[in-house]
Structure formats: structure tokens, C-alpha cells
């Protein structure tokens, strides 16, 4: 208890007084005794010091010298920032930075402009402007505003329960004609879209191998390589069996099989048929293996036969075979 009473008379423990720190002189003052010769770019929070180094001082203790200069410069920069206009927000004050002076290059290259489609090019020549269409249109039959296209659109001819037959061609089904015409328009649009795409890339997948506008410069090399590989992969399996029975060349990679691999299901319980199939497979494998000449066996047979014949010869010549002395 006695300790608490003594501590309450001075400062409570754990609380630091600013005067204590100043007395210890741990931190340098915010006032810099240096001529302010810096160039400021406050927009980028930058300052540049162009003054030359003091060689004598630098040689004495380079690290301390550099540290001292840097500290002073940072202090100057921060002092400058506090002189700027500020805006008070809830959590404190924000300095209003001026516009940056130093231009900094962007990290990524500027994106290339998209190539114009044929219509855009034509419209630019003819000075045709894009106009916004209203999304809702007045429908006379229903007497209400309806969407200009899509489900329940205004003035939908296909909705009619009857239509006039074409007097020139009474056999024709007018409803079917509507569908066919629509399909044709969609197809045409797709075709033109693809053409625009091809023209913008100056190439199409069907044009690989022909001189299709890709020169052999460095930036096209990857694309050309890719095209050739893809075409080659297609050409490889373009046989009657879709490449199933083709010989694989040495060093050639096996192409990934396309389509879903069919795994035998659970429901098939025909073990009899299964084992028959397996036996067929075994037969195939064994036939393949036994087609190869067993060199070891053949040489062994050859050697024993030769030995036998030699023995026979010796006996024929008369006299007993002489026992060979061990080497």
C-alpha cells in the first residue's frame, strides 16, 4: 500500500512526459538549421536536394552524415506540407496537395485503339451519327406502350392468329416465312461479325498456312507457331479412323483424346461377358509378346547343340575325350 501512495504524489507509472524526452534529447528538433535549397514537388510528396555533399564530413562517418541530411530534408518536406491548406475531416486534418509537377511514366503501354468495323468506317465517311432508340414503342392493337423487341414486343406480327397469304405464292406458310427470315438475318449478322473479327485480327483460323497478313516478325512468331501446331494436330488425326489406328512416330507426343471418356457404369453385371473380353485382351497382349524372339533362349539352345555336336565328333574320331585342366 505504501508504494501506491508515494507514486500518486509524482506522475503515475507508465505515463511519459514530453519534457522528460526533451531532456534526454532523444529526438532532434523540428527546426532545421539548414538553408532550404530543396526543390519541392508536393503533389508527388517529393523533394529533391541538389546541394553537393560535404566531402570532409562524409569521409569521417558516411552513414551518420547521410542519415543527418535525410532527416533534415524529410523534416523540411513535412514542414512544407503543414503549411499547405488543409481540410478538416472527422479523423483529423487532410492537406490539400497541389498538382504533381514531375511527370511519371505509366506502367503499361497505351492500349491500342480498336479497329473499326465495316459499318463504323462507312458511317464515319457518310457522317452517320448513332441515335438512341426508345426502348418502348406504342402498340396500336393493344393500345399500350410495349418494349420494341423481345418477349411481348410491340407490333409483333407472329402473334397474330391469322395472316394474309402471299398472293404470288399461296403455298407458302407465312408464319414459317417469318421464322426463316429471322434466322437468315441472324445468320447474316453472325457472318458479318465474324468477318469484322477476322479483319481486325488480319487472320482467321481457316487461313493458317496461307499468307494471311501475318509477317514473320518477332511479335507474330508465337501466333504463327500456335496456328501451325493447331493445324498440324487436326491434320494428324484426319484419317479414316480419326487417328485411332495410326502409327505413332517416335518422339511424337500423343494427342489428347477429345470428347468424354466413357467409363463403364455400375449397372452392368455381366461378369461372364466381362471375363471373356478380358481373356481376349490377354490373348492379344500375349500374342504380341510372344511374337518377339527370345534371344536368350535361342542362344542357350544354340550353345548346347554345338557342345553336343562337338562331343559327338570327338567320340567319332576315336579315343576318349581329354579332360581339360582347370585354368
Amino acid at each position: 500500500m505504501s508504494t501506491t501512495t508515494t507514486s500518486s504524489t509524482t506522475a503515475p507509472e507508465g505515463v511519459i512526459n514530453a519534457s522528460d524526452i526533451l531532456a534526454q534529447n532523444k529526438f532532434s528538433s523540428h527546426l532545421v538549421e539548414k538553408e532550404d535549397s530543396l526543390l519541392y514537388d508536393l503533389g508527388n510528396l517529393c523533394a529533391f536536394d541538389f546541394s553537393s555533399l560535404n566531402k570532409a564530413e562524409y569521409n569521417e562517418n558516411p552513414e551518420e552524415y547521410i542519415n543527418k541530411i535525410s532527416r533534415d530534408n524529410v523534416q523540411l518536406l513535412i514542414t512544407r506540407m503543414f503549411q499547405l491548406d488543409s481540410k478538416v475531416v472527422e479523423s483529423g486534418a487532410l492537406a490539400l496537395l497541389p498538382k504533381p509537377l514531375t511527370p511519371i511514366p505509366r506502367m503499361k503501354p497505351i492500349p491500342e485503339a480498336k479497329q473499326q468495323t465495316r459499318w463504323e468506317a462507312f458511317a464515319a465517311i457518310k457522317d452517320i451519327k448513332k441515335r438512341k432508340k426508345d426502348s418502348k414503342v406504342w402498340d396500336e392493337t393493344h393500345k399500350e406502350w410495349r418494349h420494341s423487341w423481345g418477349y411481348k414486343r410491340a407490333n409483333d406480327e407472329g402473334e397474330n392468329f391469322a395472316m394474309y397469304a402471299n398472293p404470288n405464292n399461296p403455298e407458302q406458310d407465312p408464319f414459317q416465312k417469318l421464322i426463316d427470315d429471322k434466322k437468315e438475318r441472324v445468320d447474316k449478322n453472325k457472318r458479318l461479325e465474324q468477318r469484322n473479327l477476322d479483319e481486325s485480327h488480319k487472320r482467321s483460323s481457316s487461313m493458317v498456312g496461307s499468307n494471311n497478313g501475318l509477317d514473320f516478325s518477332k511479335e507474330n512468331r508465337g501466333q504463327i507457331k500456335n496456328d501451325v501446331r493447331n493445324t498440324l494436330n487436326v491434320a494428324k488425326v484426319s484419317t479414316a479412323s480419326m487417328g485411332k489406328f495410326d502409327k505413332v512416330l517416335e518422339g511424337d507426343k500423343k494427342l489428347p483424346t477429345r470428347g468424354v471418356k466413357r467409363l463403364a457404369g455400375l449397372g452392368d453385371n455381366n461378369i461372364q461377358g466381362e471375363s471373356e473380353n478380358s481373356l481376349k485382351m490377354v490373348k492379344r497382349i500375349l500374342n504380341k509378346e510372344e511374337g518377339i524372339l527370345n534371344v536368350d533362349k535361342a542362344t542357350n539352345q544354340f550353345i548346347t547343340n554345338e557342345n553336343k555336336e562337338n562331343m559327338k565328333k570327338k567320340f567319332k574320331d576315336g579315343g576318349r575325350p581329354i579332360k581339360k585342366s582347370k585354368k
Partner: protein, 180 residues
């Protein structure tokens, strides 16, 4: 659980044929009870028909094991035999090697078999042939592949490797948790 695909069957049978040759047909068409091979989570099991039919009612994710595990397919599509198939391999093995009692232990710890430890070997075993190893009193203790043919083995010095290790019964203890 499913049947093996054609590709899988080929790979699997080729591996088995290395050890038991033509006898594989005895495994496929058994006289006593119909058996089949089934794949479950990359492992190949040898199951009799009855067990297989019962196991069909178990969902794939929950089915842990069935029948006898023969080995498993690696991610690259190769097949690896496991020690659990030793019973069948030993029964039908084409080529056998008998191991001397003093080097049995070394084999059971996963080492290759040296010439010094080889007691007997089947006549005209070719090189790089799958063989089943037996102790001298005819207890199967694993399988491997020969490095030399029987002919060449005679000339070798005792420290030369004769059979490369593939599996040994010591794995029943060492790999207990992943074996079945």
C-alpha cells in the same frame, strides 16, 4: 466402384503378365466362383461376384475397400502392384526365387536381393523378369524384378544385385494405413 476401361485393363494385365504369364487366365476365369476386377478410387480390387453386387449399393465416396487390393493406378496412368496381391502372384508365379534365411531380414526391410542371399532360382529366368520371392521353406515374402538372367547369375560375384525390390511383406507393417 466401376469396371476398368480398355486402356486401364491393358496396362493392368501387362503388369500382371510380367509375373504370372499365361496363368492370368486362371485368375480371370475361375472355376469355383466368378471373380472380377473393379476400380475404386484409383485402386484395383479383385472381388467375387457376390461381394461386388453387395458393394454396388454403397456410394462411391463411402466405399473404402472390397475384395483383395491388387494395386493402384498412378496419376500418369501407370499401374503399381501392391503387396496385398502376393497370395495370387505366389500361387501362379512363373518364375520364383528362393531367399536364404540370413538375408530374408534384409529383404523384408525393403532392400534389393544380393547374389549372396539367393538360395535357388527357376531355370532359364530371363533378365528384367518379374519374380516372386520365397523363403527356403516356401513362404512367399515379396516380389521384384531380376537384374540378370539365370545364366548370368552364375558368374556374378556375391555382392552383385540379383533381384530389384518391388514389394515385400514388411510393408504390411510399414504401410499399414494406406495398404488396403
Amino acid at each position: 466402384m466401376r469396371k476398368l476401361t480398355e486402356e486401364e485393363t491393358k496396362v493392368f494385365f501387362e503388369k500382371l503378365i510380367k509375373f504370372i504369364g499365361r496363368n492370368i487366365s486362371l485368375l480371370i476365369e475361375r472355376k469355383d466362383e466368378a471373380h472380377c476386377f473393379r476400380v475404386q478410387k484409383n485402386k484395383v480390387y479383385y472381388v467375387n461376384e457376390e461381394t461386388m453386387k453387395k458393394a454396388q449399393s454403397v456410394p462411391r465416396d463411402s466405399l473404402q475397400s472390397l475384395g483383395t487390393c491388387f494395386g493402384k493406378f498412378t496419376k500418369t496412368g501407370k499401374f503399381k502392384l501392391q503387396i496385398t496381391c502376393l497370395d495370387y502372384l505366389a500361387q501362379y508365379a512363373k518364375y520364383k526365387v528362393w531367399v536364404k534365411p540370413q538375408s530374408e531380414m534384409s529383404w523384408l526391410y525393403g532392400n534389393n536381393l544380393l547374389k549372396a542371399g539367393m538360395g535357388r532360382i527357376t531355370e532359364d529366368t530371363p533378365a528384367n523378369q518379374g519374380v516372386v520371392l520365397f523363403s527356403m521353406n516356401d513362404v512367399p515374402i515379396g516380389f521384384g524384378t531380376t537384374s540378370k538372367s539365370t545364366q548370368d547369375c552364375r558368374k556374378l560375384d556375391p555382392t552383385a544385385m540379383v533381384v530389384y525390390h518391388i514389394c515385400d511383406v514388411g510393408e504390411y507393417l510399414r504401410d499399414e494405413d494406406t495398404l488396403f
